[in-house]
């Protein structure tokens, strides 16, 4: 059942995933009145054409404000939301490829498949390849399950360990890995008997226990106190070293991203506006939105109380239903406002192209494009 494209290699040897022009649009409910008046159906354009690729064992970061489509991107990669358009190529282990093939998935050369077209019934085996850890450690764990039951579930679903003894052994090991020791004690606890940080450890244990290639970590520290965030970030690093996990790390805090990410994509209203090596992006940002995000981050310096913070951004993110024409950032862009004469034919009219303006540093803004 090899398809036409199978001759060419789709992912390079060190690539584990590549997303091409991904779109996730959620249709809005249409009233009967709209229908009669012939008003066309409207969409929340949560993800509106993004492309990126993940190298093995890299941590790729999605940064942006609330509602810009970070979680939706993560869910698309998990196939938890319907894909409107685009491709999601993933490399899977041979055994999983075989399972998927039996279930009717189209396997391309090099055990690669396009997740966007995988039939629903073949999603389950994909969970062994891609896992997700959610933002809210209070909501993401079933309150009626003990830690043991929470961790036993994925093992049973994927038939990883058949006997109860085997499962307990695996669970004990994973609890030790995430430093919930002694494991016997934590196994019988319920989520409400754990602190926020401990819950997030259980969430990582649940993701890692099936030994996935890729883990989507959706703001895993933003609900935690600053004082324990580093502990979870350190755990993520350890899991990467030990199990070779590749992360998609979602955050709205560039300072956190700096400590854990190799590359950063800054997202605004469903699109990437800048993609670069993490440190370079923070040291030398080009896009006005990236600059604003950086300028907004507080630092523990008492001098900061003596002056206003210069933000160079106006207002708040508009709704993803009414995306502004041209550059979608233009209503908030101070550069545009200051150079309206020069830029108005572009910024409000046509989307800026994504250009590589320095090696491996991509920016989508008319300030840097040929006009």
């Amino acid at each position: 059942m090899m398809s036409e494209t199978s001759k060419e290699r789709i992912l390079s040897p060190d690539e584990v995933l590549r997303v091409e022009n991904l779109k996730v649009w959620f249709p809005l409910k249409r009233g009967i009145g709209d229908f009669l008046k012939g008003i066309p159906r409207r969409y929340v354009r949560a993800v509106d054409g993004i492309s990126f690729s993940l190298k093995e064992k890299e941590t790729f970061c999605l940064v942006g404000e609330s509602g810009c489509g970070k979680t939706t991107t993560g869910k698309a990669v998990m196939r938890l939301v319907p894909i409107t358009d685009g491709r999601i190529y993933v490399k899977v282990p041979k055994t999983v490829a075989e399972d998927l093939w039996v279930l009717g998935a189209d396997i391309l050369s090099g055990n690669v498949l396009d997740l966007a077209t995988v039939p629903d019934r073949a999603i389950k085996p994909m969970r062994r390849v891609i896992q997700m850890v959610y933002q809210d450690p209070y909501a993401s764990l079933n309150p009626r399950f003990t830690v043991r039951q929470i961790l036993e579930e994925p093992l049973m679903i994927h038939g990883i360990a058949l006997s109860r003894e085997e499962r307990i052994e695996i669970i004990a090991k994973i609890l030790e890995t995430v430093k919930l020791v002694p494991p016997e004690e934590f196994m019988e606890r319920y989520p409400h008997q754990l602190s926020g940080g401990q819950r997030q450890r259980v969430a990582f244990a649940r993701a890692i226990i099936v030994n996935p290639k890729i883990t989507v970590a959706d703001e895993p520290v933003s609900m935690l106190d600053v004082s324990i965030r580093a502990e979870i970030l350190e755990l993520m690093e350890e899991l990467k070293e030990r199990f070779g996990v590749t992360y998609i790390f979602i955050t709205h805090d560039l300072a956190v991203a700096r400590y854990i990410c190799d590359r950063i994509a800054v997202m605004y209203l469903g699109k990437f506006v800048e993609v670069a090596d993490a440190r370079r992006l923070i040291e030398k940002p080009f896009h006005p939105y990236t600059k604003a995000l950086i300028a907004a981050i507080p630092e523990p310096d008492p001098e900061n109380r003596k002056h206003y913070r210069n933000l160079r951004i106006r207002g708040e993110v508009p709704s993803a239903v009414n995306i502004p024409p041209g550059c979608r950032f233009h209503p908030r862009c101070i550069d545009f406002e200051e150079r309206r004469n020069e830029l108005s034919e572009h910024c409000t009219v046509k989307e800026p192209p994504m250009l590589e303006i320095e090696k491996d540093h991509y920016v989508s803004c008319w300030l840097y494009a040929k006009r």
Binding site: R229, R309, E316
Partner: protein, 320 residues
């Protein structure tokens, strides 16, 4: 005389599973025009301090002892009717933690702000309408927002509405309990700019509460670090940030991810915060403290002034 002076405050929650000593012998003061920042992990008692200063500890909480002097008058002893008539919302108001999500969904935000004016401030309906417009402008919102419902507003707009409500009766002291914790960085920075403006233009005194010392640095002139229901370090912002003394303060500062400078390994504070029904003996931080000494688990260190206005409660600095 300071605007607010809190002396040896104890507020406990009398729960079925025991007495939670959420605030235990806490003292601090706020001068006119000054902003006090209270930092500490979740569960350290910050919100309980805030509710206590409003003299409205949430049940089953009770102010057990201590004084809260507002302009020199102890408000703990005041009758509820007097507090309502003279103190709450008029002299001290509060932006509650998570308040922006507690706005009533069935009323417009204008109605909700006006209600606090008519209810607590004796405004007539018409006067209230005018004042609502003023207040919305003061917090950087378009007055037409008054006609909108909470679900029609963004998180940042809702938080501004909640701040407008706290400012309604022009109290000299405003308590803001984690007012930006649920917000995005850009909106957070915008709200912090607003608070600075109120501080400078309206000369408002503030108690600003957060678990994040980086956010507190935006406004606070003076810092109180809370751990397990107690203040463990207290002093001018310039001192506490640049020469932190208490091991807990030091670790808190080292745990903040920085945008600039070398990427050092981030520190964190291993272990979990204490259960305040049975707090650890001696120094409450001793089970997690990398510097603990001999007396730490037996005797409680008291706050001592190690240099002018800078206090720390730790055996490393106490003469025994």
């Amino acid at each position: 005389m300071p605007l607010l002076e809190v002396k040896n405050l104890k507020t406990y929650y009398y729960t079925l599973s025991g007495v939670v000593k959420a605030v235990d012998e806490v003292s601090f003061s706020v001068e006119k025009g000054e902003t006090l920042g209270i930092a500490g992990e979740s569960g350290s008692g910050k919100s309980t301090v805030a509710f206590s200063v409003m003299v409205m500890p949430p049940p089953p909480g009770r102010i057990v002892s201590g004084e809260i002097l507002l302009d020199g008058k102890n408000i703990v002893k005041m009758r509820e009717s007097e507090l309502r008539r003279k103190v709450r919302w008029k002299k001290i108001s509060m932006v509650f933690q998570g308040a922006m999500n507690a706005l009533n969904p069935v009323y417009t935000v204008g109605y909700q702000i006006a209600e606090s004016l008519t209810l607590h401030g004796g405004y007539t309906k018409r006067e209230a309408g005018e004042r609502v417009k003023e207040l919305l402008e003061m917090v950087g919102l378009d007055p037409t927002i008054a006609k909108r419902y909470p679900h029609e507003l963004s998180g940042g707009q809702k938080q501004r509405v909640v701040i407008a409500m706290a400012l309604a009766l022009e109290p000299p002291l405003v308590i803001a309990d984690e007012p930006t914790t649920a917000l995005d960085v850009v909106v957070q920075a915008q709200i912090m700019n607003l608070l600075k403006k109120l501080k400078w233009e309206k000369k408002i005194s503030m108690i600003f509460i957060s678990h994040d010392l980086a956010v507190i640095a935006e406004v606070a002139d003076k810092i109180a670090i809370m751990y397990g229901g107690k203040i463990v370090e207290y002093g001018p912002a310039d001192k506490v940030y640049t020469e932190p003394k208490h091991p807990y303060t030091r670790l808190l500062l080292k745990s903040i991810p920085r945008l600039r400078g070398p990427i050092e390994k981030l520190e964190y504070i291993p272990g979990v915060p204490p259960d305040l029904r049975s707090p650890p003996s001696g120094c409450r931080f001793h089970p997690r403290c990398p510097y603990r000494l001999d007396p730490c688990d037996k005797e409680e260190p008291h706050l001592i002034e190690i240099e002018k206005d800078h206090y720390v409660a730790c055996w490393l600095y106490a003469k025994r």
